[in-house]
């Protein structure tokens, strides 16, 4: 089943073209890496799918609906770029941060009830932070904060999870356990994952689909074929915008 379909999507900031004629389909169960050099339009594309930006041309469908008409946002998890660059003095507990996603789609947006607290606890256990629910978010390490934001994205039991460069500024060891967690969620829970990354090492080890973007979609297909493709050689040739880690 196709969860996301883009047809001839284009986007421009004033006169600067960012995306041109992008056709892309994301199927249920995909672990898709969205890669490309800086300024290639990766984040813009994710924001268009999520309805945060309107394309200047083309059509977008998420679960068969246009983003502007889609209401079941609890089916979609999102961890934005720089999620961990939060105000360290913001007075929110870990439980409060995770629980935020549960009130988002409700008609009334009050405080989470008992059932919601149970969901928050379970989401924190999934990411290995069950003991830190009452801790202030600003007092956690970058890696722990990252897990809190994953828990927030997972607490509504979404069917698709978007992560925009989620491990920027996080050490290699924490990154490795983070990607193991994503692997588990994809393989055991069947969660569809769309990962925006610069890291070719991640692509090599974890994902099963790759979409390579450079204003246009220059490659979309399975991971093994990507590694033999011209698009891959072009990216490696660029070098300056991409990194490669062994995880």
């Amino acid at each position: 089943m196709s969860l996301v379909v883009l047809r001839r999507v284009a986007f421009a900031y004033e006169r600067t073209e960012v995306l041109v004629d992008v056709d892309l389909t994301i199927e249920e169960g995909d672990f898709l890496a969205l890669i490309g050099p800086n300024g290639s339009g990766k984040t813009t594309l994710v924001k268009i799918i999520l309805g945060l930006l309107r394309p200047t041309a083309g059509e977008v469908e998420i679960f068969g609906r246009r983003p502007s008409e889609f209401v079941e946002w609890d089916k979609v998890g999102y961890v934005p770029q720089k999620a961990t660059h939060i105000d360290p003095f913001f007075p929110a507990s870990v439980e409060e941060v995770v629980g935020m996603a549960l009130v988002a789609g409700r008609r009334e947006g009050g405080r989470p009830g008992r059932e919601a607290k149970g969901k928050v606890r379970r989401a924190l256990e999934v990411v290995g932070l069950g003991e830190l629910g009452r801790e202030a978010i600003g007092r956690l390490s970058g890696g722990q904060q990252q897990r809190v934001f994953i828990a927030r994205a997972l607490v509504t039991s979404p069917r698709i999870l978007f992560l925009d460069e989620p491990t920027t500024g996080v050490d290699a060891e924490t990154q490795a356990s983070f990607y193991d967690l994503l692997d588990r969620l994809n393989k055991s829970e069947g969660l569809t994952i769309v990962l925006v990354t610069h890291d070719i090492g991640i692509v090599n080890k974890h994902v099963n689909r790759v979409a390579c973007l450079n204003q246009k979609l220059v490659y979309h297909g399975d991971h093994a074929a990507f590694c033999r493709s011209d698009a891959f050689r072009d990216l490696i040739g660029r070098g300056d915008h991409l990194i490669s880690h062994e995880h």
Partner: protein, 275 residues
């Protein structure tokens, strides 16, 4: 001193003062964390224009201030959204416009300057029964609106982009928050006066933020500081024969200063551990 609270005027002052101060403190926590703390100052200047307009046209000043402040809060939201103005430029523009209009109207209608002064400096002990019930009703409505939207307001304040991606209508909540602030500022004019009402938005909330590790805790602590400020300020005003508005604001500042120093002393503002 408890015997003093047998007086009707004091009961009215306490009831209205506490409710309005709590509404101010709760909204203040959201506004400070959104970096919108100065909206209180801006809207109080606009409320000044509304009061002057009400006196000039010989209609209820509180009602005129409510209309002007709510209208201006909506205009500020639109300007911030669509005109691409930086930071709090829209607040600065409307604040100056309010003050200039108020001064002009006060100058044109010279006979009402004395009454205008009571709004500038506040006179909570002279609050009338119908003003009490109006204040109680509106303050309760403000608190109920915040409670109903608490989770969404928190999400939007903490992480606006993720809140939008999760389906929170952040534009509507921006408008709601500004309108609630405008209503609360107008109500607070009687407690602290136009010149000091913004302090009720900022100082108790800033004090609460010094002690809390959760948002709920920050809201609760801010409300406690606000209630203590009103109760203590009213008491000091009666005992020492000083203006209640000044006593309330100075007590709130004292609470902020003590909590700030306590936090500094405990080193809680040291940079959190990172990877």
């Amino acid at each position: 001193m408890p015997a003093l609270f047998a007086y009707g005027f004091l009961q009215r002052a306490f009831l209205a003062g506490v409710l309005i101060a709590v509404a101010c403190a709760v909204l203040g926590v959201f506004l400070i964390l959104r970096k919108d703390a100065m909206i209180g100052h801006g809207l109080s200047h606009l409320a000044f224009a509304g009061v002057a307009l009400g006196l000039f046209l010989n209609v209820l000043p509180l009602g005129a201030a409510l209309v002007v402040a709510v209208g201006a809060s909506l205009a500020i939201v639109k300007l911030k959204d669509r005109a691409g103005l930086h930071g709090d430029t829209a607040i600065g523009i409307f604040s100056s416009l309010g003050l200039a209009t108020g001064i002009l109207l006060a100058s044109l209608g010279r006979s009402f300057n004395v009454e205008l002064m009571s709004y500038l400096f506040g006179d909570i002990l002279a609050i009338e029964p119908r003003e009490v019930w109006l204040s109680v009703g509106l303050a309760a409505a403000v608190l109920a609106a915040v409670r109903l939207n608490y989770g969404k307001l928190l999400f939007m304040t903490f992480d606006r982009e993720s809140a939008r991606a999760a389906g929170v209508k952040v534009g509507r909540l921006d408008t709601l928050l500004m309108v609630l602030t405008a209503v609360t500022i107008v109500l607070g004019m009687k407690v602290a006066g136009i010149l000091l009402v913004a302090a009720l938005i900022v100082i108790p909330a800033a004090a609460g933020l010094q002690v809390a590790s959760s948002f709920r805790g920050a809201v609760g602590a801010s409300a406690v500081v606000a209630v203590a400020g009103v109760a203590g300020g009213l008491g000091l005003s009666l005992v020492l024969n000083i203006p209640a508005s000044a006593a309330i604001v100075l007590l709130c500042f004292l609470a902020f200063a003590l909590l700030f120093l306590r936090k500094k002393g405990r080193g809680l503002r040291a940079a959190p551990d990172r990877d």
